[in-house]
């Protein structure tokens, strides 16, 4: 599904990701954890094609294709979805308008016909239930005036509508109270299936209680320092990131 090899990324000349490697197979859920500034969100944004980051070395192969050569919209149409850490407010563009455009772009790409109004509405109603959102949200401007929890739910709702092959969740748990977290996690769990991969970027172990990953990777200083099963998250919970960072420092010293 996704194969990231020796990825280097910089912003304004400063290196954020440094020889990052990651393999994700179809149907797997990977959690990427790490302290603030470790490069987690950069990684999520680079996968989605954010133009603010410069890939200086390495490769990202998605479904056998060079992901880095694709425009963001091309990636989305091929099944890559980023749930934003900070969903953007877009006054004047209604949720329903954006979703209709997005769904139809993706369908067009797959060689499918546009959904008619009735089928579209039916799909909307079905997916709204997943995240416990009211239909009136559809007619509000995208994220405008939404609470933090509503914005995150809206991201998962969009994900449900677009049915991606590779979903990247960037700190989807941040700013959520426990009830909202449960709703969001349940929405994500409903979307888990054998052909869909999920990469979750998070600072806290808490999310992993609700969305149980197959693999956990710890990111620090722009590279994966440790990978393991879900029990790695528990070790982190116990020892904190300091434990890993100490190992990281030793590693860097060894290399120097």
């Amino acid at each position: 599904m996704l194969s990231v090899t020796d990825l280097d990324v910089s912003v304004n000349g400063g290196m954020i990701l440094n020889e990052l490697n990651l393999e994700v197979q179809a149907g797997e859920v990977h959690a990427i954890m790490g302290p603030n500034g470790s490069g987690k969100s950069t990684f999520a944004n680079v996968l989605a094609g954010h133009p603010g980051y410069e890939v200086t070395a390495g490769s990202v192969i998605y479904e056998g294709q060079d992901l880095l050569q694709m425009d963001p919209e091309e990636r989305a149409r091929q099944g890559v979805f980023l749930a934003f850490q900070y969903p953007v407010e877009i006054p004047g563009v209604s949720n329903v308008y954006l979703l209709k455009a997005a769904v139809n772009e993706i369908r067009k790409h797959r060689g499918e016909s546009e959904l008619d109004a009735v089928k579209f509405l039916k799909l909307v109603r079905e997916k709204l239930k997943l995240v416990d959102m009211k239909e009136e949200f559809m007619h509000r401007s995208v994220n405008e005036g939404f609470s933090g929890g509503e914005k995150k739910r809206n991201e998962i709702f969009q994900m449900a509508m677009l049915e991606p092959k590779l979903a990247i969740l960037d700190e989807t748990d941040s700013g959520l109270d426990i009830d909202a977290l449960k709703v969001v996690a349940q929405g994500v769990n409903e979307l888990r299936d054998a052909s869909r991969s999920i990469v979750m970027v998070t600072h806290y172990q808490r999310l992993l209680d609700y969305i149980v990953p197959d693999y956990v990777h710890v990111l620090a200083g722009g590279r994966v320092l440790k990978s393991g099963g879900k029990e790695l998250a528990l070790e982190l919970e116990e020892h904190g990131y300091g434990w890993i960072e100490d190992q990281s420092a030793e590693l860097l010293e060894t290399r120097a």
């Binding site: 989605a48 919209e73 989305a76 979805f81 877009i90 006054p91 004047g92 954006l98 997005a102 677009l162």
Partner: protein
């Protein structure tokens, strides 16, 4: 002094043309009208046509207008291009319609037969000829005290235009559409429509003025619309300028409002080489309310200048003003919004905003909000923004599969959405949304 800041020489041709034409203008020989035209001509000769040395014209260079000599069109030239009308009309817009070619009424394409009792919609020239006295008190009553040269020029020629009267307590559902077509006959023609809209007490109506070009020939439209709102009257007024890139347009909307009257005036500039709109609203009695909205689109090398002035003379008036501009290519815009709250205008509630979206590095806007407050118990606010499309929003849309061009188009339309949302005529709204989308077909990427 005047010769220093303006150009009387530029006005001389028009003063001379007026002298030649005066005797044959509609209702010539009517003493008050002759005196009024003569006075306006004297003002024109004195102040001349404005130049950039005048504070109110600082950012608008009129040289492109004054270096040509435009020929006033004062009587019918039997213009009858049905195909042009067919092309310029908004098919879904059901209206009582008057059509003017270079400022002169064309009865053939007009349709105002089914007006309800108490409503008059007709040619100004016809009314001047048949009942000049009917116009004596109203014509010129809403003009600014010191009109600029273009307004004076219009007043010196008063020949044709639309006369609209909504009788007391009449609620008119179907809009009145005034279609002004310029560049109908030949090059460098000057249309001088003069409109008067009288809204009697308790009446309610919608008037749509549209300005379009028949051909791509260079032309000048110099129009004045006066609006008088009696007590508790309300008017929805739309003004759409969509002329050719070689056209010049100077327009005035001057309104007087009585007690508890309400004016909603929406100005949309879609096309034109140089467009200058002056708006003056006098709130003359307590409880009067005005809501000015505007949208201006610039492309190519077009120039759009909106000058608005709302004067609160009396207590408990409300004014809202919200203008938005979208500028592409090397276009330029000017916004000067002035609000005066007189010493007697306590409990005034006034808000003004001007927001601009620049789609190109070469586009430019000069914006100047101005509050003058002489009362102490008022609520006034104003704000200005000039910005570009939010690149985070562009990325967000692209990350959902929307192509980059489409994303920019969506966001630009969204910028205009709140102004367009105020347009209560679905057919007109659809037409204008289409105009905004059209602008974006040629959208230049700033990256």
């Amino acid at each position: 002094m005047n010769t220093v800041v303006s150009s009387a020489a530029d006005a001389a041709d028009y003063v001379a043309a007026q002298q030649v034409a005066a005797g044959a203008l509609p209702a010539a020989g009517t003493p008050w009208l002759d005196a009024s035209r003569d006075k306006a001509k004297a003002i024109l000769a004195d102040v001349g046509l404005p130049t950039a040395r005048l504070e109110d014209w600082k950012y608008t260079n009129t040289r492109s207008i004054t270096r040509s000599k435009f020929d006033p069109v004062l009587r019918s030239e039997s213009w009858s291009e049905a195909a042009v009308i067919e092309q310029l009309q908004i098919p879904e817009l059901q209206s009582h319609r008057l059509v003017f070619a270079d400022g002169i009424f064309v009865s053939e394409f007009s349709n105002s037969a089914d007006l309800p009792r108490g409503v008059r919609v007709m040619s100004m020239a016809q009314l001047l000829q048949s009942e000049p006295e009917y116009l004596k008190s109203a014509l010129g009553s809403a003009l600014p005290e010191s009109p600029h040269g273009f307004t004076a020029m219009n007043s010196s020629f008063i020949s044709d235009g639309a006369f609209v009267e909504i009788g007391s307590e009449v609620i008119l559902d179907k809009p009145i559409e005034l279609l002004f077509i310029s560049a109908c006959s030949g090059k460098d023609r000057l249309g001088l429509p003069r409109n008067l809209v009288l809204c009697r007490s308790g009446s309610s109506a919608t008037v749509v003025e549209r300005y379009l070009s028949a051909t791509k020939s260079r032309s000048l439209t110099n129009v004045v619309t006066e609006v008088v709102l009696d007590d508790s009257a309300s008017l929805n007024h739309y003004r759409v300028v969509d002329e050719s890139a070689d056209s010049f347009h100077v327009g005035g909307l001057f309104a007087q409002q009585d007690q508890s009257s309400r004016l909603d005036a929406c100005s949309v500039v879609v096309g034109g080489g140089l467009v200058r709109n002056d708006v003056l609203v006098n709130l003359n009695a307590p409880g009067a309310a005005v809501d000015l909205t505007g949208l201006y689109l610039g492309r190519g090398r077009s120039h759009v200048d909106n000058h608005t002035h709302v004067v609160h003379h009396t207590p408990e008036g409300t004014s809202r003003e919200h203008y938005k501009g979208i500028l592409d290519d090397r276009s330029r815009a000017v916004f000067h919004g002035r609000i005066t709250v007189g010493s007697g205008a306590q409990q005034t509630d006034s808000e003004q905003s001007n927001q601009n979206l620049l789609l190109s590095r070469d586009a430019e806007v000069d914006t100047k909000p101005q509050l003058e407050i002489y009362a102490d118990d008022v609520k006034c606010a104003h704000g200005v923004t000039v910005g570009q499309l939010d690149e985070n929003a562009v990325f967000y849309l692209r990350a959902r599969g929307v192509g980059e061009d489409e994303a920019r188009k969506m966001l630009t339309l969204a910028f205009a959405a709140d102004v367009l949302a105020k347009i209560e005529l679905p057919a007109l709204k659809g037409y204008l949304e289409h105009c905004v989308s059209d602008l974006l077909l040629s959208v230049s990427h700033t990256s």
